[in-house]
C-alpha cells in the first residue's frame, strides 16, 4: 500500500502545483473548501472539509496519513482579522492536534518571511533565529506571527515528528494573487520616493519544488526559502514594465490608507513598509540541507507575473 500525504487547501494555486509534483510513490489526500481542479495524471482523494471544524478528524480516521503539507492559509487582507485568526491559528492548532494523535510522521508548514517585518535596522541577511518583528509596524499580521510561533512550539513539543516550518520570500507566479503580484500588475505603480529596498522573489513552481524537497529529506526545523536572488524595487518595476510614480512616504501612506478604505486600493497601507525598508532573508541553510536550487532565473520569475 502506498503512503498517503494530506494536502490542506488543495484548491489553492500553490497546492495545485505541489500536488502535481508529488512523487508517484505517494497517494494524495486533499481537503479544501472550493472545487478541486483535476490533475491530468493523478487521482486525489478529495474531501470538502473546513479545517476549523471537527469533521477534519474524519479524514484522519479514514486514511492512514503519513505526511501533512499544510497550505490552507488565508492571507487575504480583505478578510477580517477574526476570520483569518480562526483559519490560520485555530485551524492549524486543530490540524496539528490531529497529526499528533494519529501518528503523522512528517509535517510541512508554510509561514512567510513577512513575519520578520521590514525595518530600516534589519541586517541585510536575516537568519532564522531573528525576532519576528512585523507586528511592531503592522499589527494586522498578528495571526501570521501567532501561526508561526504556535508551529514552532508544537515542533519542539513533538520532537519525534519530522516538522519543517518554511518561511519563503515573496511568491510570484501567473496564478498567484498576493500583495506583491497585484501591485506589480498595476500600470501606474506608486513607489516611496527615495527608497529602493532589495526585494526577494521566488516562482511558485520553484516554491512547489522546495516543498517537494522537504518531502524527500528528513531534516527538521525552521528554514528561510529564497529564489534566484534579490533585486531593487525600481529594477523589478522596470522589468515587469510598469510606470513608477514616486510619492513621498507619508503622503503615500495616507493615500493608500484612504484608497484601501474606499475599496480601490491595491494594498493595505502598512504593506508600504515592505516597499520602503529591507526584509531580505538568508536562505542558504535550506539550500544546503535540502539540496534545493531554484530552476527559474530572476527575469523568468518576474515575467511570470504578467502572464495571468
Amino acid at each position: 500500500m502506498k503512503k498517503k500525504v494530506l494536502i490542506t487547501g488543495i484548491s489553492g494555486g500553490l497546492a495545485h502545483q505541489v500536488a502535481g509534483l508529488v512523487p508517484k510513490s505517494w497517494d494524495i489526500v486533499g481537503i479544501g473548501l472550493n472545487t478541486l481542479r483535476a490533475l491530468a495524471n493523478r487521482h486525489i482523494h478529495f474531501h470538502r472539509v473546513d479545517i476549523t471544524k471537527s469533521k477534519l478528524e474524519d479524514v484522519f480516521r479514514q486514511h492512514k496519513i503519513e505526511c501533512v503539507i499544510h497550505l490552507a492559509v488565508n492571507d487575504n487582507p480583505r478578510t477580517p482579522i477574526r476570520k483569518r485568526h480562526e483559519i490560520n491559528v485555530i485551524g492549524t492548532m486543530k490540524l496539528l492536534d490531529d497529526c499528533a494523535r494519529y501518528g503523522v510522521k512528517k509535517v510541512i508548514l508554510l509561514s512567510s518571511a513577512t513575519v520578520y517585518g521590514a525595518d530600516p535596522n534589519n541586517p541585510v541577511y536575516i537568519r532564522e533565529d531573528f525576532p519576528l518583528k512585523v507586528t511592531q509596524r503592522y499589527s494586522e499580521l498578528s495571526d501570521k506571527v501567532e501561526f508561526d510561533s504556535y508551529c514552532r512550539s508544537w515542533m519542539y513539543k513533538n520532537a519525534d515528528v519530522n516538522t519543517i516550518l518554511l518561511r519563503p520570500c515573496h511568491i510570484i507566479g501567473s496564478q498567484v494573487k498576493n500583495n506583491l503580484t497585484s501591485y506589480l500588475r498595476l500600470k501606474y505603480i506608486p513607489i516611496p520616493l527615495g527608497y529602493d529596498p532589495m526585494i526577494q522573489i521566488i516562482h511558485e513552481t520553484d516554491m512547489a519544488r522546495a516543498i517537494i524537497a522537504c518531502l524527500k529529506h528528513s531534516h527538521s526545523g525552521i528554514y528561510n526559502v529564497v529564489g534566484p536572488g534579490e533585486l531593487p524595487l525600481t529594477e523589478i518595476i522596470n522589468i515587469v514594465g510598469g510606470v513608477p510614480v514616486p510619492i513621498p512616504y507619508t503622503v503615500g501612506y495616507y493615500f493608500l490608507k484612504t484608497s484601501w478604505l474606499l475599496g480601490i486600493g491595491a494594498l493595505p497601507a502598512p504593506q508600504l513598509e515592505f516597499l520602503t525598508y529591507p526584509c531580505v532573508i538568508d536562505g542558504s541553510r535550506f539550500r544546503q540541507d535540502f539540496n534545493f536550487e531554484p530552476q527559474l532565473s530572476l527575469s523568468d520569475t518576474l515575467l511570470a507575473t504578467k502572464l495571468y
Binding site: 498576493n178 527615495g194 536572488g229 533585486l231 510614480v245
Partner: protein, 319 residues
C-alpha cells in the same frame, strides 16, 4: 505578502491614477518629451565622463554579480561609476588626497579602522576611493554606516548602491566571512560630530569591531585621517535642532547654517591618509569588556600615533 483584490479593483485603481496623473502627463506631453531627451543626452554625456581608469578598476573587482549586475549587498558597478567618478575627481583635485602605506593592507578579509571627523562622512568616501584607485589589486571597502542613513530617503539608497552598508554586526561578520574588506569608524557619530575644540582627539571606541575581528580571525589595519577636522569646524552642536530633524547632530560652523546649504560644502583642506601596519589579535571573542578594551586601546594608540605623526609632518591645512 498576501492574497488581495481581484482584477476589477486593479482596473479601478489604474483608471483612478490615469484620471489624476495620466491626464496631466498627456497635456504636458511636449514637456515630458523634452525632459526625456534631455535626460538621455545627459546620460550619454555621463557615460563619456566616467573615468576610464576607474571603470577598469571596477571591472577588476572580484564581485559576484547576478544577471542584472547587482551584487548580493545592493552594489551595482554601472550605477556606482557615476557617483564614484565625481568622488574620484573631488579626491584628486578638491581634497588632493595624499595616501601613505596603502600597500600594507593585507589580501583577504581585513578590517580597516579609522578615526572619524568632519561632520559629513567625507573621510569614509576618500578611504573607499583610495582602496579602489590606489590599492593593488583594487578593493571594495564596505563602509559600515550609521543607522540614520537607512531611515533617510535618497541618501540611504545612494550609499547602498555605492557599496556602503548598515553598520550591523551581523552584516559585518558575514562580509568578513566572505573575505571582504570592511571599513569601520568605531567612534561613530560621536567622532564625526565632535567640536573644533576636540579636534584630532579620539572619542570612545566601540568594542564590537574587536570581538568580530577575534571571532573571524581578521587582521586590523589602523588608519589615521588628517584634514577632516578643518573641512567643517563645528563650533556648537545644536542638539534640539538635531533632535527635531532626527539627525545624529546639527553642527554650527562658520558658514553653516548661515549660508544655507552652500555653507554645508566642506572646505578644500588637504587630506592625508596614513595606513598603519596590520595588527593581528588572538583571544576569546567572548572575553570581558575590560580584556577587549585592552586590545581596542592598542588600535586606538596606533591611530593616535599616526595622527600625531601626520600633524607634525603637515605644513599647512590647505596644501
Amino acid at each position: 505578502m498576501a492574497v488581495v483584490s481581484n482584477n476589477s479593483t486593479l482596473r479601478v485603481w489604474d483608471k483612478a491614477v490615469e484620471f489624476t496623473i495620466g491626464s496631466i502627463a498627456e497635456q504636458t506631453v511636449w514637456g515630458y518629451k523634452m525632459i526625456t531627451t534631455l535626460l538621455q543626452l545627459l546620460g550619454s554625456q555621463a557615460e563619456a565622463a566616467v573615468d576610464k581608469e576607474l571603470k577598469k578598476r571596477l571591472h577588476r573587482l572580484n564581485l559576484k554579480l547576478n544577471e542584472f549586475n547587482y551584487d548580493a549587498w545592493g552594489f551595482h558597478p554601472e550605477i556606482a561609476q557615476y557617483g564614484l567618478t565625481l568622488y574620484y575627481w573631488l579626491y584628486k583635485y578638491y581634497w588632493r588626497t595624499a595616501v601613505y602605506g596603502i600597500e600594507k593592507v593585507p589580501q583577504g578579509r581585513v578590517l580597516l579602522i579609522a578615526n572619524h571627523s568632519g561632520q559629513l562622512p567625507i573621510d569614509g568616501s576618500l578611504i573607499f576611493i583610495a582602496m579602489l584607485m590606489e590599492a593593488e589589486p583594487p578593493r571594495l571597502a564596505r563602509a559600515m554606516i550609521e543607522r540614520w542613513f537607512g531611515r533617510t530617503p535618497l541618501i540611504g539608497t545612494f550609499a547602498q548602491r555605492n557599496g556602503a552598508l548598515l553598520g550591523d554586526p551581523v552584516n559585518c561578520e558575514r562580509l568578513l566571512e566572505e573575505d571582504q574588506c570592511v571599513l569601520v569608524f568605531p567612534e561613530g557619530a560621536k567622532g564625526s560630530g565632535k567640536l573644533w575644540y576636540d579636534r584630532y582627539q579620539l572619542m570612545d571606541f566601540g568594542l564590537g569591531f574587536m570581538r568580530l575581528a577575534l571571532k573571524t580571525h581578521t587582521p586590523i589595519v589602523p588608519i589615521s585621517v588628517i584634514g577632516g577636522e578643518e573641512q567643517a569646524p563645528s563650533l556648537l552642536d545644536a542638539k534640539p535642532i538635531a533632535r527635531l530633524l532626527g539627525m545624529p547632530y546639527f553642527p554650527i560652523t562658520p558658514t553653516f547654517p548661515w549660508l544655507g546649504l552652500l555653507g554645508a560644502i566642506p572646505y578644500p583642506t588637504k587630506y592625508h591618509i596614513y595606513f598603519g601596519d596590520p595588527l593581528y589579535f588572538k583571544g576569546d571573542y567572548n572575553d570581558t569588556n575590560e580584556e577587549i578594551q585592552k586590545k581596542v586601546d592598542v588600535v586606538k594608540a596606533k591611530i593616535y600615533k599616526g595622527l600625531q605623526y601626520g600633524l607634525a609632518q603637515r605644513k599647512h591645512i590647505f596644501w
